[in-house]
């Protein structure tokens, strides 16, 4: 716990310092391209998760039909 509060304190100091220098964090830098990556990444993740679930359901039905 001691270390945690120490690290937190250091992080807060750094964050405060960074804020006085620049108002951009990672997500707002580079023309906000990371926001696009997040959006497309979620879409791709969702579609692939859906594809995997279809694949699994199909395997189950195949087992039922073939047994």
């Amino acid at each position: 716990m001691r270390y945690f509060s120490l690290i937190a304190l250091i992080l807060i100091t750094f964050a405060a310092k960074a804020q006085t220098i620049e108002m951009a964090d990672t997500m707002r830098s580079e023309g906000k391209i990371y926001v696009v990556i997040a959006v497309l990444g979620i879409i791709l993740f969702g579609l692939i998760a859906y594809l995997i679930s279809i694949d699994r359901k199909l395997s189950k039905v195949e087992k039922q039909v073939n047994s």
């Binding site: 391209i33 696009v36 990556i37 497309l40 990444g41 791709l44 692939i48 594809l51 995997i52 279809i54 694949d55 199909l58 039905v61 195949e62 039909v65 073939n66």
Partner: protein, 218 residues
Amino acid sequence: MRNWWKALTILLLFYTLIGGLLIPVPKQVILYESIRNLYFHVPMWFSMIFLFFMSVVYSVKGLSSNDLTHDTKAKELVNAGIIFGVLGTITGSIWAKYTWGAWWVNDVKLNGSAITMLIYLAYVVLRGSLDDEQKRARIAGVYNIFAFVLLLVFIGILPRMTDSLHPGNGGNPGFNNYDLDNNMKLVFYPAVVGWILLGWWIASIRIRISKLNQKLDE
């Protein structure tokens, strides 16, 4: 691990997305950042051609063996390939609007790919209109060989014989001549493999559903 290639698909596609948007690209007038479309638009067509090629392989196998499961595989590979062709057409149209200035131009490559799509839609219609399984497999199989030859002519040969706006055709060099630098190859090749594997995955699911339906019909 029987499904290792599915994990590879996911890995490659996420790499394509993140690397495709972040890794530096050559600065080109007119194209600007849209050059990154190369990682998404072009693999659509490569996937389509791959799926159609595998389809014709199964058609030949089916014709030489009279095994009807080959016909099922050929049909579902074409169905999956058409999806990729449609996506390739739409993405190409958007890209054309903002680089060439029009949604569609009367270019050999574009018209050739459109004709190819119609040829394959005709395959689906033709196959669907026949009831007798044996006859259907044979006629669809022969038509499929014919269709793939036309694909090679319309997408592969004719666009290279006349002037074309589309890169890689006529007097117009492809990206790989001097624009596709090493950074782009780093993303482009894995992207092609990833999208092709995704097409194969979708087609394999369609094939399995089709086989189940046949089993339930018996």
